[in-house]
């Protein structure tokens, strides 16, 4: 199986991807939107838009501190401006609404969001907790579901590797978001967090399917040895297994056999996400793009990272034990 045979190359690629993702995140950071920082976002659309300068002029008269005005197209295809400011009070909001709708042709306020800093902080906390909760429950479940898998690595190894793979799958779309934020000014919002959580779910599912096949193949290719010993009148039975085939071959055939499924499920998911990206409207466009990156990363990792990593770890463990 190519993924196992060339595992060093695949793992190196993964390491490079992860490292560069971390570097991108560390240097560029994330462009947090008002969902997290608090502030106001106003979208005003026109049939015939005024110049950006005019809009900026109006905003300057109302807000004293920093603001940004960005040209955009609203979902109805009309020319629009996105105005980001600090959290506005009632009076400022009214002034702004009157100001921007009076210029241009048919000015219309299509969206207004204002979020207090407290809610923003709470959302950040909640997002963090949710991701932490999901990850821990997954580790526990995998370790539990694969308990008794025994030779040559324990079920916790599978659980741990599932998490490593998860980190890879989440890092890639997050790094993409960082790039989008830096170059295109795209902001991190609640939808992004949801996209990441969906990626988590997808990635785990993908990895588990492969590991499940490994588990099944292990059971088919091993012989059982039972050793009975008696200690102080209590009969203890110890079961050990010997594999009838090399471990890497067993894992390799598991990857091979689940390959078609992995690719097909990815294809159907990618199809719907692509549809969402191109026709789904601007609100969910970034969401679809982030998910696409996550699904691609998830497919790569379930084939080229998860199983190769198990094999590499098993080899490492074996060589350590033989040295003893």
């Amino acid at each position: 199986m190519f993924a196992i045979t060339y595992r060093k190359i695949f793992l190196r690629i993964a390491a490079i991807v992860m490292l560069s993702s971390v570097l991108i995140l560390a240097t560029l950071g994330l462009n947090l939107g008002i969902d997290f920082t608090g502030g106001s976002l106003t979208e005003v659309s026109y049939t015939e838009a005024p110049t950006k300068k005019t809009v900026e002029g109006i905003v300057t008269g109302i807000v004293s501190d920093g603001f940004s005005v960005r040209e955009s197209i609203d979902d109805a295809g009309k020319e629009a401006f996105l105005i980001r400011t600090s959290d506005l009070n009632d009076e400022q909001r009214q002034e702004l609404t009157e100001g921007v709708t009076s210029i241009g042709q048919d000015g219309e306020l299509t969206r207004f969001t204002s979020i207090g800093p407290v809610i923003g902080q709470e959302l950040k906390d909640k997002a963090g907790w949710a991701i932490f909760g999901v990850v821990s429950i997954i580790v526990l479940y995998v370790a539990f579901a694969f308990a008794g898998i025994g030779t040559p690595v324990s079920s916790w190894t599978y659980g741990g590797i599932t998490i490593l793979v998860l980190i890879h799958d989440v890092l890639v779309p997050t790094a993409l978001m960082s790039l989008l934020g830096y170059f295109l000014g795209v902001e991190v919002d609640v939808l992004f967090v949801m996209a990441l959580l969906a990626v988590l779910g997808y990635s785990v599912n993908d990895t588990i399917v492969v590991f499940d096949r490994v588990r099944e193949n292990l059971k088919m290719n091993r012989t059982e040895h039972k050793k009975k010993s008696e200690e102080v009148g209590v009969v203890k039975e110890e079961v050990t297994y010997t594999l009838t085939k090399p471990y890497e071959e067993i894992v390799g055939s598991a990857v091979q056999e689940t390959l078609a499924r992995s690719i097909n499920t990815s294809i159907t998911t990618i199809i719907t996400l692509t549809a969402l990206f191109f026709v789904g409207g601007s609100v969910t466009q970034t969401f679809a793009l982030i998910l696409l990156a996550g699904v691609l990363a998830g497919t790569y990792s379930s084939i080229c990272i998860a199983s190769p990593l198990v094999v590499t770890y098993a080899k490492y463990k074996a060589s350590k034990e033989s040295k003893k």
Partner: protein, 500 residues
């Protein structure tokens, strides 16, 4: 067992298979028409519920300041607050407003409860805020001699300090109960008697011998029995003191208490004009707020924008669905067709659940649903791949299907349980927007498992039982799809009569 009997029991089995399949398909078709009617009929009792971001409207979040309230009373007070705001919202005629209390989760440091107000169709948020905010906060406070001196002292100190150090230093002073004093504050202290103890308020006119201008408009306030007791105690203990009546923090009148008032009513007179007094009485009886609230976040989505988002979302759904159906049909042929039927059933069942529960559909929920279309076929794909392996090894199609289901079950179970756990945690921790997504995601997992394990399975069993080496049309349709690979897994060689 004779040959004839065997044949008969085979016929009975076949009949039963067809019967089950037809019942299932019939049920799904029936559900489909119900969903369609519910979704399109103008007077439907169970229409699709669209969130504000799809229908347009305003979403307001208020924070209630419960710092002065006993923590045991908070939840009750919040319910009172919700009722009051709901009455106010109903007055200005919004269809299906949502007013709900949201307590912050334990993961947050801020423990003040919130009130979420959703006003579909209201896009002028200033107007809405003004309407809600108009509800007055009524307080009764007692004049306190001691405070007068303190406030004077604070004023003097602040003034001299302000001129001496150009306002950089600040000074703070507390009253006898530890409350922070403010400059310019009136010398009244809280009594605990507020609008929460109010039952009704009505407009009255002063009589000729009441010592007031005759026919002066007054507001008559009636307390609840609890409030009446409190009012009686306060008035009994403070005869001769001024009782300040504050509306939204402003002193409107401060009559001197002449005797204990036990009747549970009070008169507010403040030289009102007729209109003023009427509005005040109305506002008070429609609800004086039990606790002060502050607007923390607002969100408005224009109605046209929402409709556009909905349309785009549906277009994406239809396009995605068609492409997935085509893909499955090309790759898996006959089983692919069955997976397609299962996928359509999945959609029907999900839409029915959206109407029944009801699930409020938002842009995020819609995106989650479109995503789930791609993932819902996963269980089918898992089973078909397994089935294909078995089938190619020479097992008959029906046997292959049965063992495909059996062997794929572990993977389906583990994968779906972890996803379901994630959905539950999301629902638990999430804000209302995340909750909508988590609900759609979680329902999708359960329903897609049902569609794969029940519908796909039942229909798959309907296909005539064939073997790969029969070479008939059905056998070809069941075959490999476009995915024919020459290097098949050679694991179960011993069961494969064609192996070389």
């Amino acid at each position: 067992m004779s040959n004839k009997q065997e044949q008969e029991s085979e016929q009975a089995k076949s009949f039963l298979r067809w019967f089950r399949g037809l019942v299932l398909v019939g049920l799904v078709l029936w559900l489909g028409t119900v969903v369609y009617q519910n979704g399109t009929a103008p007077d439907s009792t169970k229409p699709f519920k669209l969130g504000l971001d799809l229908a347009g409207g305003s979403h307001l979040v208020y924070v209630a300041d419960t710092s002065n309230v006993d923590s045991a009373e908070v939840s009750e007070l919040m319910n009172v607050l919700r009722d009051v705001i709901e009455r106010r919202v109903n007055i200005f005629g919004v269809s299906e407003p949502i007013v709900q209390v949201e307590s912050s989760s334990f993961a947050s440091e801020n423990q003040n409860p919130r009130l979420v107000v959703e006003l579909p169709g209201v896009t002028d948020v200033s107007e809405a805020v003004a309407e809600i905010g108009r509800t007055p906060l009524l307080e009764f406070k007692l004049y306190d001699e001691g405070l007068v001196d303190q406030i004077d002292a604070l004023e003097n100190l602040s003034t001299s300090l302000g001129t001496a150090s150009s306002g950089k230093a600040t000074i703070s002073m507390r009253d006898s109960e530890g409350g922070l004093l403010e400059r310019g504050q009136l010398p009244f202290k809280d009594t605990g008697l507020t609008g929460r103890y109010l039952e009704t308020a009505s407009l009255e006119f002063a009589g000729t011998n009441s010592g007031r201008l005759s026919n002066e408009p007054l507001v008559n306030v009636r307390f609840t029995s609890e409030g009446a007791d409190l009012f009686a105690t306060i008035t009994r203990e403070n005869v001769g003191t001024q009782l300040g009546i504050f509306l939204d923090g402003e002193l409107i009148s401060a009559p001197v208490i002449n005797e204990a008032i036990v009747g549970g009513t009070a008169i507010i007179s403040g030289g009102f004009a007729l209109e003023e007094a009427r509005a005040l009485a109305q506002n008070l009886s429609f609800g004086a707020l039990p606790v002060p609230i502050e607007l923390q976040s607002t969100q408005t989505i224009g109605a046209s924008l929402g409709a556009e988002v909905l349309e785009h979302g549906m277009e994406a759904g239809v396009l995605g669905l068609s492409l997935v159906l085509i893909f499955m049909l090309l790759w898996y042929r006959l089983p692919g067709l069955i997976a397609g039927i299962a996928l359509l059933s999945y959609i029907t069942m999900m839409l029915a659940l959206f109407q029944l529960i009801p699930v409020t559909l938002t842009a995020a929920g819609l995106a989650g649903f479109v995503l789930s279309l791609g993932m819902a076929v996963d269980a089918n794909v898992l089973v078909f791949e397994r089935m294909k392996e078995e089938y190619r090894s020479g097992v008959s199609s029906r046997e292959a299907a049965a063992s495909g289901f059996k062997r794929a079950w572990n993977a389906i179970r583990d994968g779906n349980i972890t996803s379901l756990l994630s959905a539950i945690i999301l629902f638990w921790f999430g804000t209302s927007m995340v909750k909508g997504f988590a609900l759609v995601f979680g329902l999708g997992i359960v329903v897609s498992m049902f569609s794969a394990l029940v519908i796909t399975r039942t229909l798959l069993m309907l296909i005539p039982d064939v073997k790969i080496d029969q070479g008939t049309l059905t056998a070809k349709l069941l075959g490999s799809g476009l995915g024919q690979r020459q290097n098949l897994p050679q694991k179960r060689e011993n069961s494969n009569p064609n192996s070389t």
